[in-house]
């Protein structure tokens, strides 16, 4: 098991122009900050990014958008990003919007060898356009297809040298499903420990799904909307 790489730069080796990436995170929570920074530095372009959101102007995927490295976003919600809006309206950027639960399940299906499955979400809406529709138990469903990616890039709390991952709180979100669906999956972790350190009953992502792992060098972990009670 030689899954440990030194840093984000080494981790993203092989990511080339026009590839499809999955990136974990919900809003700015649980996003692979180090890998995104390395991608910005790499100048790779024409990327299709599968990510629930598209970051904000100066953080997360917004940094890749700003440098025009993304050709297409596949997301469920892309607000909170003025540059995104500008590129979309000018036609520089393509966007495919997918209901959030369908997006999560399509990633899981991609990792689980399930090429297609039926869900009710989107029936009667434009999401159903062109899709096979079938009734089950008196309810209409759409046939949805699995998603996979050349690289899946996830962020975990703890990870071990075998690639086993544990997420923290709501920073898990899309990371767990996406980790299964990359031809190569890169995990950026807050704390990298030797195999045998983590409780084997408490692994969220078993190491078989992870090909490269490294300890993040610094994480800003920016909060999008700080909300407090008095």
């Amino acid at each position: 098991m030689n899954k440990v790489v030194n840093d984000a730069k080494e981790a993203i080796r092989g990511i080339a122009d026009n590839m499809t990436l999955m990136l974990g995170g919900f809003g700015l929570s649980g996003i692979p900050e180090n890998c995104i920074a390395a991608l910005v530095e790499s100048d790779v372009k024409g990327l299709t990014c599968i990510s629930n959101n598209a970051g904000v102007d100066e953080f997360g995927l917004g940094l890749l958008l700003k440098k025009h490295q993304i050709r297409k976003m596949i997301s469920s919600y892309v607000g909170e990003n003025a540059e995104f809006e500008r590129q979309l309206l000018s036609g520089e950027l393509e966007v495919e919007l997918i209901p959030q639960g369908t997006l999560a399940e399509r990633c899981r299906a991609g990792g689980a060898g399930i090429p297609a499955f039926f869900v009710p979400a989107g029936y009667g809406s434009e999401v159903a356009d062109g899709k096979e529709i079938r009734e089950f138990n008196g309810k209409m469903h759409l046939l949805e297809h699995a998603l996979t990616a050349d690289f899946a890039i996830v962020k975990a709390w703890k990870g071990d040298t075998h690639g086993n991952l544990i997420y923290r709180h709501t920073a898990n979100n899309f990371n767990q499903a996406m980790a299964t669906a990359g031809k190569i999956t890169i995990a950026e972790v807050e704390e990298l420990v030797p195999a045998g350190t983590l409780d084997p009953n408490q692994i969220h992502t078993p190491g078989i799904f992870v090909q490269r792992i490294f300890q993040a060098s610094s994480l800003e972990k920016r909060i999008e909307f700080v909300t407090t009670r008095s």
């Binding site: 919900f26 809003g27 700015l28 929570s29 649980g30 629930n52 997301s75 469920s76 919600y77 892309v78 607000g79 909170e80 809006e85 979309l88 309206l89 919007l97 209901p99 959030q100 639960g101 369908t102 997006l103 999560a104 399940e105 990633c107 899981r108 869900v119 009710p120 979400a121 989107g122 029936y123 009667g124 809406s125 434009e126 999401v127 709390w157 997420y167 923290r168 709180h169 709501t170 920073a171 898990n172 979100n173 899309f174 990371n175 767990q176 499903a177 969220h204 972990k221 920016r222 909060i223 999008e224 909307f225 700080v226 909300t227 407090t228 009670r229």
Partner: protein, 218 residues
């Protein structure tokens, strides 16, 4: 007098029952959490991966790993559970959520809902709304009865792109509680001081008014 946001939320809170698992959408629905009756245990789901949302954190205790579906910092209650997005929507799609409350641009007589896209405006996406409306056992819409121009949002057929079809069971607005029935909208309650005539005049879809319509007890 029409209800304000908190009034709408307060009325919706009356729909809660002990032991309910509830998903509250962004905006007015989020406020419902503030009106859960004392002593009632309701578990709030956040579709980004939490059962058991707690109050907003105290200043200085915000955690970037702990946010709600609106990306606001939150806390969690005792007995909470975190999980990934595919498990979260397994709960939603599998019908395990007792009640979903969300906002809308329009609701039709058939219970269709438009809530995510206005042609000509920047489309941000549907998030989890389509999954929620397609699968929840009980869906309540929280919205104003009319748009800022005074146009009714309870209409015969939705004019905006749909989020889901035939799914809304009840609508709580600043003016009224309205149910979606097989025969059209049915007026259930009116906001304190609001007349049946005003509600009827601001409801574009067919509105069934049977007998005395009580005022909301808030």
């Amino acid at each position: 007098m029409p209800l304000d946001k908190n009034g709408i939320a307060k009325r919706i809170a009356q729909e809660l029952h002990n032991g309910y698992y509830v998903n509250l959408g962004i905006g007015i629905p989020t406020l419902v959490a503030n009106f859960i009756p004392e002593g009632m245990e309701v578990i709030l789901q956040s579709e980004n991966g939490l059962l058991g949302i707690g109050p907003f954190p105290l200043k200085g205790e915000e955690d970037p790993d702990l946010i709600n579906a609106g990306k606001q910092t939150i806390t969690y209650i005792k007995g909470a559970a975190f999980f990934d997005s595919s498990t979260s929507f397994a709960m939603i799609r599998g019908g395990h959520i007792d009640l979903t409350v969300l906002g809308a641009f329009e609701v039709s007589e058939q219970g269709d809902i438009s809530s995510w896209k206005i042609p000509g405006k920047m489309v941000k996406g549907m998030g989890g709304a389509m999954d929620l409306v397609a699968s929840a056992k009980n869906i309540i819409v929280a919205m104003t009865h009319t748009d800022p121009k005074g146009n009714s949002k309870l209409i015969k057929s939705c004019t905006l792109p749909l989020t889901g079809v035939g799914c809304v069971k009840r609508i709580v607005t600043d003016l009224a509680v309205v149910d979606v029935t097989n025969d059209g909208f049915k007026l259930i309650e009116r906001a304190p001081g609001v007349t049946v005539e005003e509600i009827a005049s601001k409801t574009a879809g067919k509105l069934i008014i049977e007998g005395e319509i009580p005022e909301m007890a808030l």
